[in-house]
């Protein structure tokens, strides 16, 4: 297939996943912010949201304060934010338009629908009373897109590149969410394991739709190291880093098989997967979760880069 087509499919899936993640981030902040002030007094959930979306610097160039209004405006549609939900949807549709022939009509219609909806969205309505509706519609679009791709695409390289985009973005998002919670959210003088801490961890699980499944796996109350274990090392959890890398390896292996040769991207991804397989959560905490996650984000980017050099340019 054409390198440009592969590249477009890859980024199309990434941007759809990114929009989904942003919607989840806003959702969590909004939920945390509605907690009684006794729990939430000193922390700023909205600032946490900006950090989770990894656009803190860009945000504070535009605003002084991370208020609800400002953050929603910035993450949903601000022009200075190249990774706002609107920008993600625009970019995704631009990519989709450029490779319409490489997609099924179901995929195209999903993207086109959400894009058309986005044209009529008024920021004021979202801030006032339609936030939940809006966020659900974005999450739904991403679900529909994922489902459409999964159900209707031929299992050829088109599909593998689309999946790779989604998984690499998802790995990045999961890692950042964890990192932000671990390092940014909890005010210094709040006790780890205290009331606020507990709500923040449960919200994190909720944001990846994993709160219920957490209880199914651990049958315990939510504890930081268990959440980390769940989202990093448990293969049952589809958003955990190890589960995502399992999938990334599968897609890369299919490509290698199809093309009859493999390269750096396959080797890099396999190394990350092996690392995760050998890791124990106690060790990760011992050596510093933040350090582990930072290095994971770098390695994950490296896979994206080697993939681009190998196939997409």
């Amino acid at each position: 297939m054409l390198s440009r087509t592969a590249n477009n499919l890859f980024w199309l899936a990434r941007y759809m996943e990114r929009a989904d993640n942003l919607a989840r981030v806003i959702d969590v902040a909004s939920r945390l912010a509605s907690l009684p002030s006794a729990f939430a007094g000193k922390s700023n959930e909205w600032e946490g949201a900006v950090a989770s979306a990894s656009c803190r610097d860009e945000f504070f160039e535009v605003y002084k304060e991370a208020t609800r209004e400002n953050v929603i405006e910035f993450l949903v549609a601000h022009e200075a934010n190249p990774n706002s939900i609107r920008a993600c949807i625009d970019t995704a549709r631009g990519n989709a338009r450029a490779v319409r022939t490489a997609m099924t009509s179901e995929m195209w219609e999903t993207i086109n629908d959400v894009w058309l909806k986005m044209q009529n969205v008024k920021l004021k309505d979202i801030r006032d009373n339609k936030l939940n509706d809006f966020l659900s519609s974005i999450k739904e679009a991403s679900l529909r897109f994922d489902g459409a791709a999964n159900r209707t695409m031929l299992r050829t390289d088109h599909f593998y590149f689309e999946r790779l985009g989604m998984f690499i973005e998802r790995a990045d998002n999961t890692a950042r969410l964890l990192d932000v919670k671990y390092h940014v959210l909890l005010p210094v003088d709040e006790p780890v394991g205290g009331g606020l801490d507990y709500f923040q961890w449960t919200s994190l699980l909720r944001s990846v739709s994993a709160l219920t499944s957490f209880h199914w796996i651990y049958r315990e109350t939510v504890k930081p190291w268990l959440v980390a274990d769940f989202l990093i090392l448990r293969r049952e959890q589809p958003r955990s880093l190890i589960a995502i890398y399992d999938s990334i390896n599968q897609q890369l292996n299919m490509l290698a098989e199809l093309y009859g040769r493999q390269g750096p991207s396959q080797r890099n991804a396999r190394a990350i997967f092996a690392n995760l397989q050998n890791a124990k959560i106690e060790d990760l905490f011992q050596n510093g979760l933040h350090e582990f996650i930072s290095s994971f984000i770098v390695e994950n980017n490296k896979v994206g880069k080697s993939l681009a050099e190998q196939y997409l340019l």
Partner: protein
Amino acid sequence: MARISDPIGIMGWNVQIFDEMLGADGHTRDVYRNLNDWFSQASPEVLSSRFSEAEAFFRRIGITFAVYGDAQGTERLIPFDIVPRMLAAKEWAFLKKGLEQRVKAINAFIGDIYGNREILRAGIVPEDLILQNPTFRPEMMQFRPAGNVYAHISGIDIVRIDAETFYVLEDNARTPSGVSYMLENREAMMRLFPELFALHRIAPVDDYPDKLLACMRSVAPKTASREPNVVLLTPGQYNSAYYEHSFLADKMGIELLEGRDLFVRNNCVYMRTTEGPQRVDVIYRRMDDEYLDPLTFRPDSTLGVPGLMSAYKAGNVTLANAIGTGISDDKAIYSYMPEIIRFYSGEEPQLKNVPTWCCREPDALRYVLDHLPELVVKEVNGSGGYGMLVGPHSSKAQIEEFRAKLKAHPEGFIAQPTLSLSTVPCYVDSGLVPRHVDLRPFVLCGADGVEIVPGGLTRVAMKAGSLVVNSSQGGGTKDTWVME
């Protein structure tokens, strides 16, 4: 004297407008009978709901086009009318024969002017009109494309003025567009009006992409493998016809490429794929000559492929349409088309030209300047309905502006009488109303001969009384049904 004749006296003004459903006498013509019955019985609710369904269908599949210079966003829907335009089997047989004759002549003509120039030596077409024409490409001289085919795809615009008379309005042998609307309109009609399809025997059009692909394969270079790699080259998603490009590539199952996906090495063309370079044999290009190769044509073109022309001339790749076919779209050349057809086919042209004053001829110019308010004046190299004057619908100031242009550059213009184009019924809020239409059939010419899918694209001037059907000027489309 200007080569102009008025065989059936259409130049007058008070000609009755011919309605294709009601005919001249107000009695429903046979071919429309079932359709008319159905529409008269359908309740307004049914019609309006079908109309909304059609709108939703086109918006969902994203069939849009861009309008150049339109600040209001770059995408718009082309208005679609739910009443089909009908052609009887006999009418189509007549048109088909004429189209085949005309397209064969166009191919012979282009081959001749880039070859031995017999038509110039015979004095039938003035030499300077060819050699000094901006669309003449000297690079093509003494070069023979594969299969000797130049205009692989032509769109011949046809208008009708009464039950028997069809005119060719213009020839499009450069990169004619609109065929995706023909196909999508049919798709929409089959979803919306299955009962009408049960009432009629309508010739199918959906094999067009297969025929197009077969046509492209038939002209693959000799060096190509047995399974030639055919691709479609687009200027990209900001082009007004991008939807069509991706639609056709999809239906043909071929790659949709931009210039940057291709490169030339050792006079061969390759595309960049995830598995490395892959050879390209036939390029269905939807890009004008000037942009194709910055080394030969416009050096500032970033859309093209450097070195493409040398690969082409080495015979290692086929371009469809060939370079330099724009010459036959020239409206001054158009006025010679009847003679061109006679010269190459030895037959009388089956399809008539609209009587045309070629303003480069002094007598004709004088006549045109004297009769501007009643004529249509067009630029010889114009297209898309831009840069033309429709005399009866223009203000004095507009007419004077054109008078000045005409005097300054008479060779840049032709003039035609304002034709009373036929009308067909269209659905609007108030029911069925007559609107003017034209027809663009798509003619395929491959190494094995000519293929035409029955019908074509019917374009409608959606405003009451308007004669301009171009989509860029607010025109719409409707499905065209050829009866079997």
